[in-house]
């Protein structure tokens, strides 16, 4: 094995919400195990990013420094070797050069850019997050396309520059069309775009140019409020109502048009081409567009001891890592909450785990749909935020107990048994701002336990108001404080 100086080595790929959470909990767990171990973090990014607040960077109400911090000084302080590098391949059986299981990485830091290295591991946590797959739609994205993004802090910064230029044009009297939503038929993360459109609307009102803007929402959801979770039902006003009602109400209240069941298939300068679920093909002109890309795995390869490519054994075709889910293809009616993974252990190699967006979901949560032309138009399942942190905590606890002799993972965190909270900002101001607060339990509906709606309606709720904004602001400062591992961080809830 990869024992280094008498210590086992736990390697984490990625330092986003799930990867960094795993690092924090492994550092905290050092005092709890009999077996000494070292934690190593590998991430191509020099900075940690509180992604949910990129929305506020994208409208100029926060700067990049308020949502990011440098990882290297923090990991140095807590004694975690940090490699600013991207993982290229996993060798779970070792290789001819190195008999220990290891990953091959390529450095992205300025001083070592392009150099490769082998990093051995006893346990590997894959928490790479997604590849932002702008290439799936021609003309999509900030690098080679015509749309902006808020998926990273630098993307959000660029989005704000273009938004401010659009606002300036409106101040000069020009009318503009602003389109926000999803840039492909299989996107997830509608919530980020949902937040962004309301914050843009809020900023336009503050700038006194709201009457100059036509705001249009476009998404692959069957109905508004689906969010890749098949929508939610909540109790309100004496009725059990679908979240679609509230999502549409928010749009109407703010004068926003919406197009749903849409797969954007091409973007040209000033023109979005999209196909609807009924098969019709349409165009939509725009002056400013923020469209979320679809996600894919980061393209990690895997090889066995003989150097044979075993990528298909470890990863799903989407590039996400296979874990303890039931991947048997079945029709929608036979899908079950039990199909979802709970330990996130790879079935082929017991010391490999994947958490957050990096694990391959067994199937969609929203109902699968496709147009008469065969174009899939359905959101992918969300695996971000609170669930990704819960997975990381479960996996780190399991690994610590396996280090001390447990034969198999001991902790479980199925998305079919955990809830999630989403606080979607609809304007940032401590007195005039607001947010839509939503909780669901469980994330993956369990129709055996909750036959009618798949969820516990006493734990699934939503409301709109200033309190939600305070909640969002509190979460921003709390989670950044916690991620920086300031005094008392471990007492704060994840």
């Amino acid at each position: 094995m990869a024992t280094q100086g008498g210590k086992k080595q736990i390697v984490i790929l990625g330092a986003g919400i799930s990867g960094h959470t795993a690092a924090r909990y492994l550092v905290r767990g050092r005092r709890k195990t009999r077996t000494p171990y070292e934690v190593v973090v590998i991430s191509p990014n020099a900075k940690w990013n509180w992604v949910p607040s990129n929305i506020w960077v994208g409208v100029g109400q926060m700067n990049e420094d308020q949502v990011t911090f440098e990882l290297a000084p923090l990991y140095k302080r807590i004694g975690v070797p940090f490699h600013q590098a991207k993982a290229l391949s996993i060798h779970p059986e070792g290789s001819a050069e190195d008999p220990s299981p290891h990953v091959v990485v390529e450095y992205t830091s300025a001083d070592k850019a392009g150099q490769t290295a082998r990093i051995p591991y006893d346990y590997l946590i894959n928490s790479t997050g997604p590849k932002l797959n702008f290439g799936a739609t021609e003309g999509l994205g900030p690098d080679h396309g015509h749309t902006v993004s808020v998926c990273t802090a630098s993307h959000a910064l660029e989005a704000n520059h273009k938004l401010q230029a659009t606002i300036e044009a409106m101040r000069r009297g020009e009318d503009k069309t602003i389109v926000i939503g999803t840039g492909h038929g299989t996107c997830t993360c509608q919530g980020a775009a949902f937040e962004y459109i309301y914050n843009v609307e809020h900023v336009l009102r503050d700038a006194g140019v709201r009457d100059k803007a036509r705001l249009v929402w476009i998404s692959n959801e069957y109905e508004l409020g689906d969010f890749g979770m098949g929508g939610v039902h909540i109790e309100r006003g004496g009725y059990i109502t679908n979240g679609k009602v509230f999502a549409e109400s928010l749009m109407v209240e703010r004068g926003i048009e919406w197009i749903t069941r849409a797969a954007v298939n091409k973007v040209e300068a000033g023109k979005i081409h999209y196909e609807l679920l009924d098969g019709t093909k349409n165009e939509l002109g725009f002056d400013f567009a923020m469209l979320i890309p679809p996600f894919a795995g980061v393209g990690l390869k895997a090889f066995d001891k003989a150097g044979e490519d075993i990528t298909a054994k470890i990863f799903a075709p989407s590039g996400f890592m296979k874990v303890d889910a039931d991947y048997t293809p079945r029709p929608y009616a036979e899908w079950s909450a039990k199909d979802w993974p709970s330990t996130y252990q790879n079935p082929s190699y017991g010391n490999l785990f994947a958490v957050g967006i990096a694990f391959a979901p067994p199937h969609l949560i929203s109902k699968p749909m496709s147009s008469p032309n065969g174009t899939p138009i359905n959101p992918a399942p969300p695996r971000t935020g609170m669930p990704s942190a819960a997975m990381a905590i479960a996996v780190t606890s399991s690994i610590l107990e396996m280090l001390d002799g447990a034969p198999a993972p001991t902790r479980h965190a199925s998305m079919a048994k955990m809830g999630a909270a989403c606080v979607a900002s609809t304007g940032r101001n401590m007195f005039t701002g607001s947010a839509a607060t939503m909780t669901v339990f469980p994330v993956v509906p369990d129709y055996e336990k909750y036959p009618m709606y798949g969820r516990d309606l006493s734990l699934t709720f939503g409301e709109i108001g200033l309190a939600g904004h305070w909640m969002k602001a509190m979460l921003h400062y709390t989670f950044i404080y916690q991620a920086k591992m300031r005094p008392g961080w471990s007492l704060l809830p994840d």
């Binding site: 549409e248 004068g255 048009e257 048994k417 909780t439």
Partner: protein, 52 residues
């Protein structure tokens, strides 16, 4: 895009719109302070139910 139902049917005509009281309560500080407490309690309950 305010729908009046004088024009051809529009997207905006059907969804519910908040009343003036609802809009007021969304920003009314004493009520929102109370709701802030309620939301926190609900989230704590959610997290407790999520831990296995």
């Amino acid at each position: 895009m305010t729908a009046t139902n004088k024009e051809p049917y529009q997207q905006a005509y059907y969804p519910p719109k908040p009343t003036r009281l609802t809009c007021f309560m969304r920003k009314f500080l004493p009520w929102q302070l109370f709701r802030f407490g309620v939301i926190n309690l609900k989230m704590i309950r959610l997290m407790r139910n999520s831990h296995h």
